[in-house]
């Protein structure tokens, strides 16, 4: 993984000093809350329902054991023993006192972490495939380019006060696990001959007006990527709407201008760049960053492992976990392990300080000191030898981290909702938990197969309901919570925005209604291999709408 050099370290420690000064000026009253707001926001500090919340950046979702341990210490010493992993591969602490935040940031800086640009109307943490560098299906490792983009966008003087927040995602795999088509900019790494380049998608996003991104350029060679991004950002900064917060994202600019005109503006701006404006990243710098992401030296192993096979034969629960939570690794004898943060009845994405310590220890002992956060709010150990799976599983189980549900129906994305969030109209957590309960039986969920349910407690769509195979959106109608169901969304390479099925349901009716929908799918699917989303595409939404509203 990337490690700070003297420059990175100095920039981050200067940031801590700067924010300490800003907090002092706020606490002394010299800065008004209104003036402090954009400053705290660019340091990941939100004022939430109950307290300040601190969002810490986990660049493209990668951590090492030391970093995760430090997050655990922050959770223990400054929060209530919890951290919340987010859909943007970051972590949030919900109960940190403002006066303590500079100290927390200093602790993070010790382990090469920060909260820079995790909020505010600037370029946010770059996200990527949580199996990057490990998965069989990638063209190359996307993380070096994520790091290059991270550095370029950090304190970019021109793009610190954009019309609205700005999210960039990068993938290099055919199966898109980074949801690039619902990001402001989505980059897909391609090759033409020996030249690495980027397919550039712009203007995707969720929120109250969901859009899929437009393909703006099929191939931007790597040497030109940052200059091309500058052109897009300048067009957005100059022409993006600022009159209405809900129309300020780049997706609205792209849709109001139209694809052709937007592309023309970007190309015109790009063509106008003079030599003195070009970033012209030296090849030596690209090589320097690439070197940090060299694959770990994995000892050669056979395809199968007798220890692994033996425990599978012996322990059905382990065998199930192994069927569900492992992802194929590019190296024989290894696998990527999902550590589910979605126990039945739990809080999606939450981990205790003790659980973080466990995962840190596992990473250091068995997993080449590499941990990822997935956009589905789980943790991943990307490089684990099959031989070590029995030991890894035992430790996970002891920590309550062995839930076998990766990408199954109980592996839901759930926003904090009305229980924590300032913006929410409805609760998400209890509804998510009630839905989980209905599908909790391990055989039942495994039979249902891959099915993504995503829940948002308001139209801002932090729970990604638009791209859930089944989406649930909480709305408030005259003081009562209702839940609108959508069908057919997906966030992968076949990205689609779900369609609203009909009138909203009361919270108590949601679990039963979804069970009817899912059982209808089990009756109608062509065979066991046909996923819910595929049956839905084949048959249309009607049978499922009927099931949704059928009287109990």
């Amino acid at each position: 993984m990337y490690r700070y050099d003297e420059f990175d370290a100095r920039i981050v420690s200067e940031r801590v000093a700067q924010f300490r000064g800003q907090v002092d000026r706020r606490l002394s009253g010299e800065l008004l809350e209104d003036e402090f707001k954009p400053l705290r926001l660019q340091n990941g500090v939100y004022l939430q329902l109950h307290a300040y919340m601190l969002r810490v950046a986990i660049p493209y979702g990668q951590l090492n054991g030391r970093q995760l341990r430090q997050l655990a210490i922050v959770a223990r010493d400054y929060d209530r023993n919890y951290g919340h992993f987010t859909t943007r591969q970051n972590i949030q602490f919900n109960w940190v006192a403002l006066k303590d935040i500079p100290d927390v940031l200093a602790k993070l800086a010790e382990v090469e972490m920060h909260a820079i640009q995790t909020s505010g109307n600037c370029i946010r943490n770059v996200t990527s495939d949580h199996y990057a560098g490990a998965t069989k299906d990638e063209l190359m490792d996307p993380r070096p380019w994520c790091e290059i983009i991270r550095q370029w966008s950090t304190f970019h003087p021109e793009f610190a006060f954009l019309p609205r927040k700005f999210k960039i995602a990068v993938t290099a795999a055919e199966h898109d696990r980074a949801a690039i088509r619902v990001h402001d900019i989505g980059l897909h790494i391609r090759k033409r001959g020996d030249v690495v380049g980027f397919e550039v998608h712009v203007g995707g996003g969720q929120g109250r007006t969901p859009h899929l991104a437009t393909l703006v350029n099929e191939f931007v060679p790597e040497a030109e990527l940052l200059d091309y991004l500058e052109a897009i950002m300048r067009v957005y900064n100059r022409f993006g709407r600022r009159d209405n917060k809900y129309k300020a994202r780049i997706k609205i600019l792209v849709s109001e201008l139209g694809e052709a005109e937007f592309r023309r503006l970007v190309e015109e701006e790009y063509a106008a760049q003079r030599d003195n404006e070009k970033i012209d990243l030296p090849q030596a710098e690209i090589d320097r960053i690439l070197a940090y992401f060299a694959p770990p030296e994995l000892a050669a192993k056979p395809d199968t492992s007798s220890a692994f096979e033996a425990l599978k034969a012996d322990d059905a629960e382990f065998a199930r976990w192994a069927r569900i939570n492992l992802h194929p690794h590019k190296t024989p004898g290894y696998t990527s392990v999902t550590v589910s943060l979605k126990p039945i009845g739990g809080l999606a994405g939450d981990a205790t300080d003790a659980q973080m310590m466990t995962v840190a220890h596992l990473a250091e002992t068995y997993a080449y000191d590499d941990i990822r956060v997935s956009h589905a709010q789980n943790l991943v150990l990307p490089h684990v030898a099959l031989d070590d799976l029995p030991d890894v599983y035992r430790e996970l189980k002891a920590a309550g981290l062995h839930t076998a549900n990766e990408s199954l129906i109980t592996d839901m994305i759930v926003c904090p909702g009305l229980d924590y969030c300032n913006l929410a109209n409805a609760r998400s957590i209890p509804v998510g938990q009630a839905v989980q309960e209905v599908f909790a039986d391990p055989d039942y969920q495994e039979d249902i197969g891959r099915l993504h349910i995503n829940i948002s407690g308001c139209i801002n769509a932090c729970g990604h309901h638009h791209v859930g195979h089944i989406g649930i959106l909480g709305v408030d109608k005259k003081g009562e919570e209702f839940y609108q169901i959508t069908f057919g969304g997906r966030a992968d390479e076949k990205a689609a925005i779900g369609d609203i099925a009909g009138p909203g349901l009361k919270a108590d009716d949601v679990p039963g209604a979804l069970k009817r929908v899912v059982d209808t799918y089990r009756e109608l699917r062509a065979d066991k291999g046909e996923l819910f989303i595929e049956t839905l595409a084949r048959l249309g939404h009607d049978p499922f709408k009927e099931a949704l509203y059928a009287a109990g």
Binding site: D5, F7, D8, R10, I11, E14, R15, A17, Q18, Q22, E35, P38, L39, N121, Q151, W152, T154, F155, H156, P157, E158, F159, A160, F161, L162, L226, R234, N237, R238, R242, A272, Q273, R274, N276, E277, I279, L281, P282, A284, E285, R288
Partner: protein, 162 residues
């Protein structure tokens, strides 16, 4: 309002003349882009220094061919959250090569000055920051990750300087 330029506080000898206001016969004046557009010949024929004040929606390309006739360009920040002025400044300085004074006016806060400076501003009219603070703000970061206006070498070059 205090005006800080190149690390020192200076007197403001410039006056902005509103669109409906009468042009004084002498003195250094700035006008809006609209007024500059409609009265350009009169303005450029004057024997005094002339400046233009850009509002966030103004297109700096309109000034490109007159830049060597202008002694001051003010970029207005009605709200600090409106960042269009940063792009205007970058275009003027880096693309069009404007070498005169580039002044941030309006809602200019201490904590934006670092970004303003790197975007090409060299003067700041600010009610909320004294000289000491402005100078501190300019020096908050020893290193930068990207090229911008000014002569700071980005770290991706420093790293490979032998």
């Amino acid at each position: 309002m205090p005006l800080v330029k190149n690390g020192t506080e200076i007197d403001n000898i410039w006056a902005f003349v509103p669109d409906e206001g009468e042009l004084s016969p002498g003195g250094c004046i700035t006008v809006s882009l609209g007024r500059f557009r409609s009265e350009r010949d009169i303005l450029l024929a004057r024997n005094t220094d002339i400046g233009v004040r850009l509002e966030p929606g103004d297109d700096p390309h309109e000034l490109e061919e007159y830049l060597d006739r202008l002694q001051l360009i003010e970029i207005s920040f009605p709200k600090y959250t409106d960042g269009r002025g940063y792009s205007q400044a970058q275009l003027l300085r880096r693309r069009f090569g404007y070498a005169g004074e580039l002044r941030a006016v309006g809602h200019v806060l201490r904590d934006q000055i670092f970004y303003m400076n790197r975007s090409g501003f060299d003067a700041y009219e600010t009610a909320r920051a004294d000289l000491h603070e402005v100078v501190n703000a300019l020096e908050e970061y020893s290193d930068v990750y990207q090229p911008a206006a000014g002569d700071r070498t980005p770290v991706y070059r420093k790293r490979h300087e032998s």
